[in-house]
Amino acid sequence: MTATTAATAAAVPEKTGRGSPWLAAVRTPVGACSAVLLAAVVLLAVLAPLVWGDRAATVDTNAIGQGPSGAHLLGTDSLGRDIFYRTLVATRLSVGLAVVSTVIGVTAGLVLGTLPSVLPRPAGRLVTAAVNIAVAFPGLLLALFFAVIFGVGTRGATLAIAFALAPGFARLAQTLAAGVVGRDFVSAARIAGVGRFRLLVRHVLPNIGEPLVVNATIGAGAALLAFSGLSFLGIGVQAPDYDWGRLLREGLDGIYVNPAVALAPGVAVVLAGLAFNLVGETVAAVVGVRTRSAKVRDRPVPPVRTAAAGETGDESLLVVENLQVAFPGPAGWTTPVRGVSFTVRVGEAIGVVGESGSGKSLTGLAVSRLIEAPGVVTADRLDFAGTPLLTTSERELRPLLGTSLAMVFQDPMTSFNPTRRIGRQLAEVSEQHQGLSRSRALARAVDRLRAVRIPAAERRARQYPHEFSGGMRQRAMIGMGLMGQPRLIVADEPTTALDVTVQRQLLRLLARTRDAENAAILLISHDITVVAQNCDRVLVMYAGRIVEDLPTADLTSAPRHPYTRALLAATLELDTDRDAPLAVIPGRPPEPSEVPVGCAFAARCPRAADRCLAEDPVPALVGPGHRVACWHPYEDTGRESGREAVASGGAE
């Protein structure tokens, strides 16, 4: 319609891209199976009646009710007709009727499902309500009901099954459409003045098409089974016509004499039903309705990386050296955390800052030993409170980590178990690790809720998470950490989902907790100001590496890495010059799967030179407690000086 040339231009790379997933899908066992079965079913449906129609109808009074023999592969029925050929010939009617009723049913379902969005409100609601009631009834029951109305026979059964399928599809279409209608692009189209009908055709239907096709295919399988069921009951296809259900009905009487009479059509039904189901699954896998994880090949070889972890004294609580986190991806292993080293001292507050995809959250999870398979964590050293976390067994670690490592996660809405009371979720910790009884653990939970300033803690402990606000849940989460004696609190974007006033409360609570328990804090945030306000030291991460590790005091006065400076410059403050354009960092971070050879920031860096593209910079100490991984860092005066930058770059 509009901008068609543009659309076709887009379609060309799309097409070439599309060929391969279908081909790849057919190469999988499921895909190959489904392709072969489907081809066989279609071929039989078309050819069998033409080729064997007469043989299947031939009555042989000399061979009534015989078992399998050379002349009759699967024996004969009560009129001496060949069971094998009858089963093959019945393919056309069985599959054909299933497809016809599916088409009618899906069409009716789509009409019913999309009517409410076009009809006036009350009428639409009535349709929705009717569909909602009908969908609660199983298809067979609906089919029987409609069979009464439409009458016994092929036509009646076809309509009955079609109408029995319709409510399910109506509901599916409604649910899918509601999901699309709620999205902003539909709102944008409405604002642009796009009418209801065009909205439906142009925006809604294309976006629900794929799951509908998948479900229609599976629905055809269901229709096939249902039709055989009706015919088997004698309500569907009537003699002298026959489908598999009819054959089965006729064969059941002779099952003692020749089980094949009943089994042959049964097997045919199952195979054809499987064909539809498998095709549906394959289509689903290709169009991405459900994605299958790729095969995991071999583990990655962690690249060797020499890194100064900073001084590790007696005060070290957490020592991390050359930490790597790898995940298997569709195109091999990716390593979103690539050789991270740092130390957290007792009672220290460390901030980890970086943009999305920098690996900061994974670092937090890895040091807490919360990365599960298929993720792989490796490190030269990962010690918490003197215990090596990677070599000690989980059972031995449990009491230590359960009482001295606390976690606060980003999304307070999903981080609590919705089916258990808050108090019990806290109490669990003490029951498990401190051997407290149920009631004493609960009393402690109430006490801890009070400690994180939750009003009416006793009543609140009996409530479920959905009765708590976001800020309250984050408090409760901190309270959960306080069930033991936390020595380290790992807080992964704890305030991102909260409003600023609530954020301030929570950060204060963290600070108070740190003082009271002398706990160290690892505060992970995308917001450099939050980190600067609340931490002693800041780790700046970029593309899975720590690019700068510096005391907070140096952050504003003497950041050395170009990325740190760019990040600071891009951060809006309440005193940013309104008349000047904002500083921006050109380009975007590399994907974890395509990190370049040299410095990952080189492509966006104003100071990048040849060496940066060729060689990955190794962190080097540039001041007390200040490490930078850069070949050309800024001087700590804050002024750019090429000579000094090269000098310090080469000093490593």
């Binding site: 599960e372 670690l397 498990q432």
Partner: protein
Amino acid sequence: MTTLAVAPGPRAGVRGTSPWLSFARRRLTRFLVSLWALVTTAFLMIQLVPGDPVRASLGLTAPVELVEARREALGLNDPVWVRYGHYLGGLFTGDFGTSMGSGQPVSQVIGDRLPATLELALPAFAVVAVLSVPLGVLFAVLTRGGRRRGAELAFTSVSVFLAAVPEFLVAVGLVALLSVRLGWFPVAGSDGASAFVLPVAALAIGPAAVLARIVRVEMLSVLGDDFIRTARAKRLPRRLVYVRHALPNALTAALTIGGLLLTSMVAGTVLVENVFAWPGLGSTIVQSILQKDYPLVQGVVLMYGVGVLLVNLLVDVVLALLDPRSTIREN
């Protein structure tokens, strides 16, 4: 189609009635509305039959007087509204009409046949629950995070296959193998305990496979949820993480989908009864449809419908017990 730009506030929950009471009220209302819709539909079914149901039932050769007398007796000559009123009134007094075939009251036929169907359906429900949940959980735990691809493939293939085989084919297969070939169980009838094995198995195998698959998928999805990470951060033993934190949440999700499965088992009895010549409602409905015994069809359809509504109600109550949110979330 309105969008609430406002985050749900904390539900302080002091105001108004208890969520349970309003849940009970809402759910009961829905049940009654559905029941009314069901009864009305059952009534309309007969009205929608093309031509004269009495003539269709008695055959073309029946004398006009007989047809007319039967029509009069059934009240078919009254206007639709009067008939509807009679029908509703009859239902309240337990009068489901009279079978055209046998002349027996429909309620009596149902009373005779219902126990046999329940004897089949209830054990099948139990078998499905007992088999599918542990199997689904077990395979979810074994194959989480892409582990044990062999076990996953085996589980998926077997469950897909079993789910693709309809009840009546399972029944036929079981009969062919275990009764005809091995002679372990009777082919048909409902005498003795061994007679139950095949019909119940035929009814339960498919749904059990489907439900086990659903439980596994839901369990895997729950295991990826944030609160499972929280539970792991508490360093609970894995057993507790699975049983206490993952299972209830997986079950709520599985039940929402599985509810439809349980109701389909209600309908599945029709086919299984016909294979095994089981003297329940399923045999009755098919015979009455074939004989065009419309009052009987109407009564049995109503019974099945009520069965479905009851299963749905039960599922909702279980959901509410498992997940406190569902008492307020439900619309």
